[in-house]
């Protein structure tokens, strides 16, 4: 991936990099040997190696998807698939190597942990370097740890669910992830347990030409309730990195699970992620998904409403500035009766940035009394930016109640005039309108995150004003 990218004047405060000695790294490029090497290093059971090889084999067979963003510059031979930064998963920050700890300090993770989080996981390149959950939650049986550790500690539950929602053959990048996965979060919340504060995972890419392939498995047992948040950043390089994660979420009957993503990769990262949830009877799955970084994101959090009375709410927010393409959206697949979905997409494009909403709404034969509401609003801040909407629908039951609304707009002269007549500069006025447009998202965030998100958006807009 030696493509020289145009220098982008994006003000990105997370673009710093660390010069660290890796404990282990595979050679560049992908082969069956690399897959076996990774599995061997992790001392995995045979079934997992077989699963990886199944993924690898499908990855080779599967053609590159051509329906979304431009993937031509990904050179799979120039990527390093596994980089191990530290010997073990620390249980206190003291156990994390100094340079890596300093990075997470700069990202504000330990501070947030002290203030308001129920648990924290931190992944640096390929491995989880830190993991900690509040004691009283551990005592209630809440499990929050790195996925590799979970494979060893909870092999049965792991095998029961792993790759059941997203099989290796699902798509090319899910196949790749299955072949070389490393790290990610494993969450299990027992029956009836309510976790009040969020569980936070942070994913950091540090190395150049790196592929990060975390694998996250989340199981919410009956009637439990929790909120999982993930954030991600990377250094700015002139060459590209690849992030191809797979996330599987199981919400058992009556569970209420919220999954929030604040994706803020540097603009040399290809972010190609498969996220899927199964919502059983009377459960609720909420995806709150924000993409404000990366060169190209292709991500469509999906919920399969498999149990009667299940509900989902998916909120997708995207910002694309110069050199960025956010191809994002959502899928709601209604397989049972009395299920409800609401999909809201808000996108902002500026300075040549491109946003695409891609959605899929399906109501299967036999799923009666389904309600779904889809709303897509796109805001273009100038004439050189682009916005497209592709809402696909397959409705096989006549009694489904479906609404779909879409708007595309720009900030009107009158709105800017009104705000400027209150002393705001044109930039400040534009910021205020954009933050208002995205408020439906920020109001869903814990306050600390909302403040940070607003600050990031302001920085993006100012950095992209023509």
């Amino acid at each position: 991936m030696v493509l020289e990218q145009e220098t982008v004047n994006r003000e990105y405060k997370y673009g710093f990099r660390d010069d660290i000695e890796y404990v282990y790294r595979t050679a560049k490029g992908l082969s069956e040997d690399v897959v076996r090497e990774i599995s061997g290093l992790k001392d995995e059971p045979e079934w997992m190696l077989k699963m990886r090889l199944r993924g690898y084999s499908h990855f080779l067979e599967r053609v590159m998807p051509d329906w979304g963003g431009d993937l031509d510059d990904i050179d799979f031979d120039d990527i390093r698939y596994y980089l191990k930064p530290s010997e073990k998963e620390g249980r206190s920050w003291d156990e994390v190597p100094d340079k890596i700890r300093e990075t997470f300090d700069r990202l504000g993770i330990p501070e947030a942990e002290r203030k308001f989080l129920a648990g924290v996981g931190a992944q640096y390149d390929s491995e989880v370097v830190y993991h900690k959950t509040l004691k009283h939650l551990e005592e209630q049986g809440v499990v929050f740890m790195g996925t590799d550790a979970a494979l060893k500690e909870y092999p049965e539950i792991f095998k029961e669910y792993f790759a059941t929602l997203v099989p290796p053959e699902d798509n090319k990048f899910a196949a790749l992830n299955t072949a070389v996965w490393s790290g990610g979060s494993f969450v299990y919340v027992p029956k009836g347990v309510k976790v009040e504060q969020p569980l936070q995972a942070y994913f950091r890419i540090n190395s150049e030409n790196m592929g990060q392939f975390e694998r996250t498995l989340i199981i919410g047992d009956e009637d439990c309730q929790f909120h999982y948040i993930e954030g991600c950043t990377a250094p700015t390089y002139t060459t590209n990195s690849l992030h191809a994660a797979v996330v599987e979420v199981i919400a058992k009957p009556g569970a209420i699970v919220r999954y929030t993503t604040l994706q803020n990769w540097s603009d040399n990262v290809y972010n190609l992620v498969t996220k899927r949830a199964y919502a059983y009877e009377n459960s609720t799955v909420e995806w709150v998904d924000a993409n404000i970084g990366s060169r190209l994101t292709m991500k469509y959090p999906s919920v399969y409403l498999v149990g009667k009375g299940a509900k989902t709410e998916i909120l997708s927010v995207a910002y694309a500035g110069k050199g960025m393409h956010q191809d994002a959206g959502a899928k709601a697949i209604h397989l049972a009766s009395d299920t409800q979905s609401r999909i809201t997409s808000k996108s902002v494009s500026q300075n040549g940035g491109r946003v695409t909403y891609r959605g899929h709404l399906a109501v299967a034969k036999g799923a009666r009394n389904v309600k779904s509401n889809v709303r897509c609003d796109a805001l273009m801040l100038d004439a050189v930016s682009r916005s497209d909407t592709y809402p696909y629908m397959d409705i096989e039951e006549e009694d489904a109640s479906i609404t779909h609304e879409a708007t595309v707009g720009k900030i009107s002269e009158d709105v800017l005039y009104y705000l400027m007549s209150r002393g705001l500069t044109e930039n400040e006025a534009m910021n205020m309108v954009v933050l208002g447009f995205l408020e439906i998202f920020t109001k869903e965030l814990p306050m600390e995150y909302a403040v940070e998100f607003n600050r990031l958006i302001k920085m993006e807009i100012e950095g992209n004003v023509g």
Partner: protein, 247 residues
Amino acid sequence: MPIQLDILDLHAGIEEKKILRGISLSVRQGEIHALMGPNGSGKSTLAYVLLGHPGYRVFDGQVLLDGEDLLAMDTDERARRGLFLGFQYPTDLPGVKMRRFLRESYRSIRPEEPDGEAFDARVQEELGNLDIDDTFLGRYVNQGFSGGEKKRAEVLQMALFRPPLAVMDETDSGLDIDSLQVVSDAMNRLAQEGTGILLITHYQRILRYIVPQEVHVLIDGRIARSGGKGLAAKLEKRGYDWLREEA
């Protein structure tokens, strides 16, 4: 020295179309001037031009704020220099709560003033004066507001910013009697405290509550007549047609 707004032979309009054809008037701090006139006479055009709406064009003439060339300034600078516009039709700002809008506007217009608790207290006081409910601050700016709420929101901003000069564009239209009383009280108080107000109105009704120093009648883009309170009374009896005939 009181600040004053001087409009000198102003010609302005939209694209090639002239709407204002030579307007001159001056408003000093603490004075209230009523600008009246039939529909289409150019009243709102004047309001928009004074704050520099990009859809309007100035052909000729000058506007001075405190002796400085107002027309050379951007809209936000005009506001920061002390000229306020109360909109006839303020725009909705979806997702922007009143609380934040007021605070950020206040910071821009009054950067030297404290904007923390002291400001919150001021807001509460003015909400009380204008008989506006507390929940108002949690609502999105102008979204779903009734006509009367929008006008009160504009007057609230004027009261908070205490601008040296304010142009209030048909602040009275669409108000019931109670609202008209409340809004008029606020404007009278602001004028006493030193704000000069150019009150644009279609109806003389508001002049029962607010007594202007001068009344100007705008017809076809020109000031057809200026006078005292008596002029307003005459307009109430006879309408605008006699002035059009004289002009």
